[in-house]
């Protein structure tokens, strides 16, 4: 069983939950940017958690199935079509041998996810199938899909057929607005920023620039000033510079004071720019569904609220899983 890539779309990659435990050698986790949509796709088709799917960015591919399959499309509103007929998202579908899956233009969000019963069967590299394109590893030959690629699909679980027609309750389907609020825990090297600038950072409506990809999202809209100091040994002369340190996924840095960057799944793992806070894990799904020119505000929360949000998201995912079981 295979999927033949007739058109690759703008950027379509194989992703799973990610490659953890390798950050210390400079290896980011990669993996699905919007974990919620990716996981719910697996629930719909009856896969084990962690089965690899396709992450489809901005503009969808055209894929031909060489055998019958059970699939689901979740995430961004990029209406899928089978043999040219529009089909539902957030719903388990059956496709037959020879069927072609294509996508209409993006209406909202940024990334769609295709789950296939049995998962995309590419080799596991360092305990993950996720693609990390920067150094060309994981996924399908370490790169985004190209025309003519053939992807193997793993053996579908026995329950897959019984999943066809199941739907995610509408209350659980996210709406992707062009205005996003992201909750952050201020910290890391936030002591480098003046209190006035921190207030400005939290009150500014930022705009996503064209540099918004799997490595990170860059924003414009305000200016951050750093506390004056004599730069410590090893840091370098610029006030935005610190002695190079680790960058958490979701961390926010402000090179030059004018362009906050939030690091995402293919992050650079460390460097010499002052970080000022971290987007909480529960909100990274929504960040991943924002795109160039969308508006973003950062709201400060404490650890307790971040942990509550994380629990709530897990509870919701468990509920969806149960409802589709």
């Amino acid at each position: 069983m295979a999927i033949r890539v007739r058109q690759p779309g703008l950027l379509t990659t194989v992703q799973d939950t990610g490659r953890f435990g390798e950050y210390a050698i400079g290896m980011p986790p990669s993996g699905a940017m919007d974990v919620f949509s990716y996981q719910v796709g697996n629930y719909l088709v009856g896969n084990e958690e962690g089965a690899a799917g396709l992450e489809i960015t901005y503009f969808g591919p055209e894929l031909e199935f060489t055998e019958d399959a059970v699939i689901a499309v979740t995430g961004a509103e990029m209406p899928p079509k089978i043999n040219g007929e529009e089909v539902a998202t957030w719903e388990t579908l059956r496709v037959a041998e020879g069927d072609v899956l294509s996508f209409d233009y993006l209406k909202s969000g940024a990334r769609s996810y295709l789950a296939v019963a049995g998962g995309i069967d590419v080799p596991v590299f360092m305990h993950s199938r996720s693609t990390y394109t920067l150094i060309g590893l994981g996924g399908h030959e370490g790169r985004a899909l190209k025309e003519g690629d053939e992807l193997k699909v793993g053996e579908a679980p026995a329950r897959a057929s019984g999943q066809v027609g199941k739907k995610v309750d509408g209350a659980h389907i996210p709406e992707y607005s062009r205005e996003v609020e992201l909750r952050v825990i201020i910290g890391l090297a936030s002591y480098r920023v003046t209190p006035e600038s921190m207030e400005e950072f939290l009150s500014t409506e930022w705009t996503v620039t064209t540099d918004a990809d799997r490595v990170g999202y860059r924003y414009r809209g305000g200016e951050i000033k750093f506390v004056e100091r004599e730069q410590p040994a090893g840091a370098g002369a610029d006030p935005a510079n610190v002695v190079d340190f680790g960058y958490p996924i979701g961390s926010i840095q402000v090179p030059g004071g004018v362009e906050p960057i939030v690091l995402m799944n293919d992050a650079v793992t460390g460097g010499g720019y002052a970080t000022i806070g971290t987007v909480i894990s529960a909100d990274r799904d929504r960040l991943a569904q924002s795109k160039t020119n969308d508006k973003t505000r950062f709201r400060q929360v404490d650890l307790e609220e971040a942990l509550r949000a994380r629990k709530e998201r897990q509870r919701q995912m468990a509920e969806i899983r149960e409802s589709l079981g």
């Binding site: 210390a24 825990i185 890391l188 680790g246 958490p248 961390s251 793992t269 460390g270 460097g271 971040a306």
Partner: protein, 301 residues
């Protein structure tokens, strides 16, 4: 604040990196001692195999731990880290089982020269090369004297990252001899793979081609990252450097560069290296004498 008075150590900053990370900045300033502390604490943490820890990342003057907060609450981890910090103290008596490695580099190679000339408009001094500029601002009369200082003493690998395999190296010399240079005014959009660069107080070998802001001094013929694991040194890991490694950057000429490059191509290259138990105390006491000993281990019989 009393502990600060007793030990003379700066107060560490403990911070949440969202709900999944604990970030600890041991000091704002870089020093060999603070890096030894980061290594000792993270090594200690590693040995404890605490459930809920996903990544332990030592860095230059700080470290970071990724956790599953459902299994291990960030505050519980921080409590344990504070205890570990006290146990490690000023790293007196700390030993590090490590390796001393010969890392050949060609200084003023044609590839990084071409690159740095292309990006002159992003540099502090468009009329000098990166090497000439760095020599001047560090008070060296000649470029050669600067190169001699740069390659005259070995380096400690104090952090790996940015991209897979890139080693940050801090020289094992007294603070007053540390070289320091700014990064480019605006980063380059291109840096050749294996470029030998310098930024802030750190020497690096770029593991992959890409953007970069460090001053460019030369190029290494041998890789620090081998995704296909063709070379013997990469059989256990796609990344060669490890935190705590001691690298001796050795100047080579074009002929040796070509020879090593050919060995890498054929898959026969192997770094010259020796096992070594490193004593930070001795390095802090008399770095130059200890360096002689370290290099004796690497190059002696």
């Amino acid at each position: 604040m009393s502990s600060e008075v007793e030990t003379g150590l700066p107060q560490a900053r403990y911070s949440y990196g969202g709900d999944e990370y604990v970030f600890v900045e041991l000091s704002e300033a870089m020093s060999l001692k603070v890096n030894f502390r980061a290594m000792a604490i993270t090594n200690g943490l590693q040995e404890e195999n605490i459930e809920g820890i996903m990544d332990i990342c030592p860095s230059n003057a700080s470290y970071m731990v990724r956790i599953d907060p459902e299994v291990l609450h960030p505050d519980d981890l921080i409590s344990r880290l504070k205890e570990l910090d006290e146990e490690v103290g000023d790293v007196h008596g700390f030993e590090l089982e490590t390796r001393v490695v010969d890392v050949p580099v060609m200084i003023e190679d044609p590839w990084t020269y071409e690159t740095l000339m292309r990006f002159r408009d992003r540099h502090q001094d468009p009329n000098a090369t990166d090497l000439e500029y760095s020599a001047r601002i560090n008070g060296y009369d000649t470029k050669e004297a600067f190169i001699e200082a740069l390659l005259g003493s070995p380096w400690l690998v104090t952090m790996i990252g940015f991209v897979p395999g890139l080693p940050w190296c801090y020289q094992l010399v007294p603070p007053e001899e540390q070289i320091e240079v700014p990064k480019y005014v605006r980063p380059r959009t291109y840096t050749p793979e294996r470029a030998f660069g310098f930024g802030g107080g750190f020497a690096v070998v770029y593991s992959v081609e890409g953007a970069g802001g460090y001053q460019l001094f030369g190029r290494a013929p041998a890789p620090v990252l081998d995704v296909k694991q063709r070379l013997k040194d990469f059989q256990d890991s796609i990344v060669f450097p490890r935190p705590g490694d001691i690298f001796n950057y050795r100047r080579i000429d074009r002929e040796e560069y070509n020879r090593i490059e050919a060995e890498v191509e054929e898959g026969t290259f192997e770094y010259k290296k020796k096992e070594f138990v490193f004593h930070p105390d001795r390095s802090l006491e008399d770095p130059h004498a200890y360096n002689e000993e370290i290099l004796g281990v690497l190059y002696g019989d």
